[in-house]
Symmetry: C2
Amino acid sequence: MPDDSLLLPDAPVLTPGQRLARGVCRHLLGHDFVTVEELVPTPGLRVDVMALGPKGEIWVVECKSSRVDYTSDRKWQGYLDWCDRFFWAVDEAFPTDLLPEGTGLIIADGYDAEILRMGPETRLAGARRKVMLQKFARHAALRAQAARDPGVSLSAWG
Amino acid sequence: MPDDSLLLPDAPVLTPGQRLARGVCRHLLGHDFVTVEELVPTPGLRVDVMALGPKGEIWVVECKSSRVDYTSDRKWQGYLDWCDRFFWAVDEAFPTDLLPEGTGLIIADGYDAEILRMGPETRLAGARRKVMLQKFARHAALRAQAARDPGVSLSAWG
């Protein structure tokens, strides 16, 4: 696999999990899902990728770069309450037998991904969907603003 | 007023209207409104700034850098259908007597802004509000993704 730091000298150094997230986000865009990273749906919980589909679908994807990364996550069932579908994203070397049944599975690298198994659908209630869409919009807009206007500090806004 | 191109050599060159938009967006953030620029609510209409408030309020701000810029805009009444409140943003030299009654007024420069007059509230119907929130979220997320991942091209997605 090519080394990003050679190809793109100005690119930020990504953690293994962030590299998976990047590939996941690229792939989901091909399904017309837009994405944000590291959204906090409720205090104490931070999702790696939240995706918004063309019909308003809300998916959560947790990116696990290693067995240890996975087994140290005690919170994953908490994510189910904040999305219509839940997926794990792992690289091709990951022992996928570890992953619980009834969850979606995406195989990813830093450049692309593939959905191997859809997570079962448990649709959000209308009120929570509305709250999540608002959170998604705010999270995305703050980051887009910071990108187009380096004079803005997000520290006060998250 | 300082010249941005001297202060920030890597900053993009903004048009006068985009400079006003930047000041407007900075100011609105102080009111806890997040913003996107150049959103297309419906084909043929592009708003300069769309803002999303903490309670889901949707505001549109059209930035006019000169009398000619204002008088050449024949579409502004079309914006009213896509927001709860509508504002003009102009610089302090703009002849504000030109502006129609019953619209909001913001005085801006490239660094900040001030709301001089609130636009009257005409609340969006629920279905349209939902559509606009979804458009806002998609627009913002695509631009945030492009900023964090230069490998993504938005050309196919707007």
